[in-house]
Structure formats: structure tokens, C-alpha cells
Symmetry: C2
Subunit: 239 residues, 2 copies
Amino acid sequence: MPSPYNLEVEYNCGECRVRAERLFCNMGEPAVQALDAVKFTGLYPKGSLLFVEGEEPRGIFILCSGRAKLTTSSTEGKTLIVKIAEPGEVLGASATILGKPYEVSAETIEPSQLNFVKRDDFLKYLNTHAEACLHTAQQLSEKYHSAQREIRSLGLSQTTSEKLARLLLDWCDRGGELTAKGIRLKVLLTHEEIAQMIGTTRETVTRLLSDFKKKKMIDVKGSSLFVLSRPQLEHLVSV
Amino acid sequence: MPSPYNLEVEYNCGECRVRAERLFCNMGEPAVQALDAVKFTGLYPKGSLLFVEGEEPRGIFILCSGRAKLTTSSTEGKTLIVKIAEPGEVLGASATILGKPYEVSAETIEPSQLNFVKRDDFLKYLNTHAEACLHTAQQLSEKYHSAQREIRSLGLSQTTSEKLARLLLDWCDRGGELTAKGIRLKVLLTHEEIAQMIGTTRETVTRLLSDFKKKKMIDVKGSSLFVLSRPQLEHLVSV
DNA sequence: CCCGCCCTGTGATCCCCATCACCCGAACCC
DNA sequence: GGGTTCGGGTGATGGGGATCACAGGGCGGG
């Protein structure tokens, strides 16, 4: 099958190979088939806006592959990246359920496959499929959980280096690759975006990273970031 | 019926007068009766710890009356108040659903009635009562929504006065009483607690409040706080 | 090839607010 | 009545980081 953006596309949830690994999608046949019936599969290039903060909820997006950043921004143009969504996550569920405006914006940062379900269809689906409802509750719990982590990081950190250290440690836990040189992280974000993740400025991120380098805690080679001394990083984090 | 702490107690959800107003409890007969069968009603004085951050989830608490503060704290002893929970809210649901440790601590700040449901019972209840599951999803959506607001406030505010102004405006929206002198708020929190809500120090809150007073934006009489000029407060808030 | 754009790196400056230190009044309780 | 505790009010000080300004480097596109 020809697939744009070099994406492996799976149009049929029933045949999806990775379904079992996905918190939400891992449901029994009836629920999956019913989902297949109402969803619209879409392919999106990097930088696609799925929905915008404040907009009335049109429905939910299930992130099948790729990644998306969830952001919120002030009228002054300052932007905060709330979360980088990974495959398997459901985007826009809370707003869709409550019928309130989306509380964040969602934008793909890689070519991505997403399954869209219209609001009415989704609500009907939840009402008729208890299993889907349960999985949605789990998804929402996860989302709340990670929002809570973000709150801790933003509210309890004393200094900006603590926030940055916490972010790096977070990355180690979820995508670190062990090498001889230390834990290798692929950094696909610019300093600007890292700054937006921890609520600071681009310059400060640059300065802190080179400070970490000077102290031999990390090393940067191209888009790879090596964590040389995890203990030192942890030492910066109080909480 | 004799009731400790001057609380009106309702032991029977089926007969609860305010049930219809409560997002979660407003369910049909079967779901309510099943809830009645597994819940334990408890009365708690001010300052009761319902659960503690990091603890394995024992179950959920439904806040029938009273209020509770949800907090998270660093090892250094710094505390952040994440939310003041109001009657009708379900506490500890996300941790209970995921089987992960509670992500916040919950402590009553008024004498409160709470209905407790053990984890296993709650999970069974969700599995057998689709309506309850749907209402739980709504509850979780609400929680996520308010967490998102908190993230915005913590991450996007430029200054502390902005955060404080935002908090006051929030209070106006949810519990303001219109009087000739302006919007009256009953402040039941100490400066210390206000500081913990916006991630700053007690001294700064004191200074900012007296600054606001000097600028005739607010006035304080005992535990009443009058918002004299809402527009001026809004002007401090950029987002 | 060279121009423009985006990302990174760094210096200088300034100000907000955390921190420490102390005082005061009110409530509370031996 | 005299401690004691708790909440509120204020001054002095210092540092962290936002802000502004500019320089270099990689990279794509005309």
C-alpha cells in the first residue's frame, strides 16, 4: 500500500498488530468493531494542528503512530508545552466528554496517524460499550496523573536547573538507551521547546545545558544527548 | 439524629436531597442502590488525612459535604495545594483505577461527610454499572480540566501578582457574593495556604495583598475579602 | 554560491521575590 | 496574669533568571 510520510498505516483496528499494547485500544472484539465503524483514519504531516485551545470540542483523536505536543498559551504569546503525547493516547477526550472547550492545543511533531471520532459518535459509543467507557476512564486517569506530575514540577521546583534535571530524568525513564557512554536520549526538541516545557526562556536552557556539560553530567553530540552521571542529575532534584 | 461536628448526615444515597446537583451522584436508581451497598459513610473533623501521596490506593472517597484540600509536597517540606475539593467531587479515583499510588494527599479543611468505597468494590462497581463508569469518566474529565487550569496558572504567569489575581478571580467565579461594596469572598485560608496554592511564600502573599489594598482593588474585613475592582484585577492577568 | 532563516551561544543589566530576621496582636491554656 | 502558639505585617539583602542585544553556524532554496 502506498503510504505518505513514510508511515505504516493501519486502517482497520481489528487487524492492528500493536493494539494489545495500547491502554485504550486493547479491548474485546465488539468494542473494537464498533470503534472501527465510527472512526475516521487520517494521516497528518509534522506540524498539523489537530485542535486549538478554546475551540468547541469536535471529537477525539486516537494517536496510532507518531507524536503530538499538547500546548497552552497566554495572550502574550508565551507557550507552555504541557505534554508530548505518545502512540496509544487519546487526545481531547475530557473536553469532548464534558462538552467544554478544548483546554489545550494539539499539534503533531512527527508524521502521525490518528483516528478521529466525532463527538456525538463518541458519546454514543461510550454509552453503548461499557468496556470502552472503562478504558476511557483509564486513559483519563493517566492524563490526570501526568498533569499532576507537571504541576509538581512547575510548582515545587526551587530553581530552573531542578526543572531541567527533572525533565532529563523523565526522558531517561521513558526513552533512554543504555550505551557505554551513558544513557543516550534522542532530543527532537529545540532549546526553545525545552524551555516551553519547563516554563523558562530559551537562553536559560542553553546556559543550563552548557553548565551541565561543564560539570560532566551530560554530553551532546548532534541530536543525541548522553546522560553521563544520573546521580548528579538526581542530586539537583529535591522532590 | 445526633450528628457530630454539626453536620447534617445523609447515610442513604437513595434519599439524598442534593444528589441531583452532584455530577457524579446524579445517577439512576440501580446505580445508586449498588453504590449504597458498597460504600461506608464516615464523618471527619477538620484536618483529617484521607490519604497520603505515594500511598497504595485503598479506594475512593466521595465528598458529600465539607471541603478538602489536595496537596503535593517536596522532600524539602515545601507544600503545594493543588485544589480545594468541593462537595460532589470524587477523590482518589485516578489512582484507584490505575492501581498506582495516590498522586496527591487529601485533608479535610472543614468537618466533612465522605463516602468511602474500597478499591475492589469500586472496580467491580464500574464493571457492572455502565452509568457509574460514565459518571466517573466525567469526574475525571473535570479533574483533568482543573489540573490543566493549575498548570496554566503556574507555568504561564509572569509574576506572582498575576497568579494571585488569577486566584482571586477564580474565587469570584465560583463563590462570589455580590454586595454594594463589591464582590464578597469568604477567605477561609491563611496567607500561608494561599501561598501554597500559587507556589510562593507567605510574606509575598501578605505584601501583595496589602499592595492590592493600597491600589483599592480589594478590601479585607475579617475573613471577608471584597473585590472592589474586578477590571483592575483582570488587567494583571495576561492569559 | 550566497542570502536568509532558524537554532545556538554568550555577555550585560535589572528587578522580582525568596530568605532571614524581627515585631505585633489575638487566641488559648495552664 | 504570663507564657505560648499562630497568623499577620515589614525591612534588608542577595541571587536567579528574564530580558535585550548581538554574534556565529548550519542549512535549504533561489
